[in-house]
């Protein structure tokens, strides 16, 4: 299953050809960097000896822009941070605003945004798995399988709010509009179909000999180091640390739904893939429970004004986004826009250990390890 010997020792043992280290820029324009990201990598032959990530090519100053917009307008800025998981970005931001302004959300709005967030988690994990396998060299097929399912979820989002990627669906107090009648049968049809599609991906990929050979025991990180480096999300759970905010610090109505937390102990690229695959199944369970418990009613309280004016103070709202813990720290001076809006971006912070993950590995494994972190450049640079 795993490689025969530690690669580095093996490579250097009987090396007759003398090589000298060479530094290469990978990115910012590179198909495997998932956006505009640059790594300054030093190689010795095919072995990575040093990595320096260079950020900032997609920096749009979202935090500064937020200081000049009203609380409702900022929802559109959060969409554009992690643009494959807009719903959870909205959710994190809205939770902070509700905490800051003391808004009690409408139950139907909360159930709707939980359904949206869990569908978004499935969509984001599908993208993560599809591109991870693409980075492994399986050009096309698994990615298209994953994207096909994601497309159906985006169709549902289009019914909910008219947009597919940049949803802006949530508002302080709930969501901006109730789901149309045709949404519910479409959601049922998707939920009937999705488990079989996830099984199909599972059959195709999990025990695939090439994938196992390429991902098991590659880029292993120690769980204690990950916690110290603030790494969260599926990456942490792939190291066996049972930390899921939906379970440990439930927000919205997550304490009213039951789900398992898939944990793996290997903490390698394969474990990170496996945890994401299993989490999609748990998300389907959560959506079913939301549908059972949702009740008719307003989707947001009528008394919440369009211009929210929170009292002076600060609030930190945090959710379990597909990439990890996503938090918004908002400071209010009593006006219609936040005095300061800071984003705790999981994509950026999960890159803290990038060097440790890649150094000592091979060039070909570099992109796989990088892909297994599952970052989104819109969120790294903001």
């Amino acid at each position: 299953m795993s490689r025969a010997a530690p690669r580095q020792d093996n490579l250097h043992a009987d090396m007759t050809l003398k090589t000298e280290p060479i530094t290469i820029n990978i990115g910012p324009q590179h198909p495997s960097t998932h956006g505009v990201f640059r790594m300054r990598v030093t190689f010795d032959g095919e072995v990575v000896v040093d990595v320096e990530p260079v950020f900032g090519y997609l920096h749009r100053g979202s935090e500064k822009l937020a200081e000049e917009r009203t609380y409702t307008q900022i929802v559109t800025l959060t969409d554009r941070m992690d643009y494959v998981a807009s719903m959870t970005n909205n959710q994190s931001y809205i939770l902070s605003v509700e905490k800051l302004a003391g808004i009690e959300p409408s139950p139907r709005g909360v159930w709707l945004r939980m359904i949206a967030a869990e569908l978004q988690r499935i969509a984001s994990h599908l993208v993560a798995i599809g591109f991870l396998i693409q980075d492994l060299g399986a050009w096309g097929t698994p990615l298209i399988y994953a994207m096909r399912e994601r497309e159906k979820i985006l169709d549902l989002f289009e019914m909910l709010c008219g947009a597919r990627i940049t949803n802006s669906y949530l508002r302080p107090g709930g969501v901006f509009m109730d789901a149309p009648d045709e949404f519910w049968p479409a959601l049922d049809a998707l939920l009937d179909e999705l488990p079989a599609r996830i099984d199909e991906l599972d059959d195709l990929l999990t025990n695939n000999e090439i994938i196992v050979a390429r991902t098991v025991n590659v880029a292993v990180i120690d769980p204690a180091t990950m916690v110290n480096a603030s790494i969260t999300g599926p990456m942490l759970r792939a190291g066996g640390v049972d930390w899921d905010l939906r379970h440990r610090d439930p927000y919205d109505y997550y304490e009213r739904v039951k789900f398992d937390r898939p944990l793996h102990t290997a903490s390698d690229n394969n474990a990170r893939y496996w945890v994401r695959l299993q989490e999609m199944r748990e998300s389907i369970k959560i959506v079913y429970q939301c549908i059972e418990q949702i009740e008719p009613g307003p989707v947001r309280p009528a008394e919440v004004p369009f211009l929210v004016r929170p009292p002076v103070g600060d609030a930190y709202g945090i959710v379990e986004a597909p990439k990890g813990e996503l938090g918004f720290y908002l400071v209010s001076d009593g006006g219609i826009s936040p005095y300061r809006c800071h984003v705790r971006a999981p994509s950026l912070i999960n890159l803290t250990l990038l060097r440790e993950m890649l150094v000592g590995g091979m060039v070909a494994d570099m992109f796989v390890s990088f892909g297994s972190i599952d970052i989104n450049m819109g969120e790294v640079d903001r």
Partner: protein, 162 residues
């Protein structure tokens, strides 16, 4: 449910191992002095009553009269959270706070971000460079006195020199 430390209790618990570290506290937050931050951080991470092993977030805020760093801490083994704040740069002098990267490695990129966008220096940081913007970018954009785009003073030739 994660238990949030109350400001008063946290202040008393910090005083127990780091005397004179706490400057003030309110219901939820505790302000500590920059000089004692490293001791407080190490204590919060290692002492059995806290075990704050995950530094969730570092936020920098410009309050015009001073700057403030907000440390959101989480304890995985005990499922607790706490907020510690540090005030620096009184009267818009150059703000400086010791780096906590030696205690929590997760501070690495977040402190670089605070330096880049808010201009707070972190002595002791292993890689104290800008992160989002390029070296030589004039000013720190998240400061309240930064001149925004329409009045920008960035010359084309200043862009992207490394």
């Amino acid at each position: 449910m994660t238990i949030a430390w109350k400001g008063e209790e946290l202040a008393a618990a910090i005083e127990a191992f780091a005397p004179d570290a706490v400057i003030q506290h309110n219901d939820t937050d505790v302000w500590v002095s920059p000089a004692s931050l490293l001791d407080v951080a190490a204590g919060l991470r290692d002492r059995p009553e806290f075990r704050f092993d995950l530094l969730s977030s570092i936020s920098a805020v410009d309050y015009i009269g001073h700057y403030e760093l907000v440390y959101h801490l989480t304890s995985l083994p005990r499922n607790m959270k706490a907020v510690v704040k540090v005030r620096c740069g009184e009267g818009r002098s150059d703000p400086e706070v010791p780096s906590v990267t030696a205690v929590w490695r997760g501070a690495d990129l977040q402190e670089r971000e605070a330096w880049d966008l808010m201009g707070i220096r972190f002595p002791g940081h292993p890689n104290h460079k800008r992160i989002m913007l390029w070296e030589g970018f004039p000013g720190h954009p998240l400061r309240k006195d930064f001149v925004t785009y329409s009045q920008s003073v960035i010359e084309p030739e200043q862009a992207h020199t490394e």
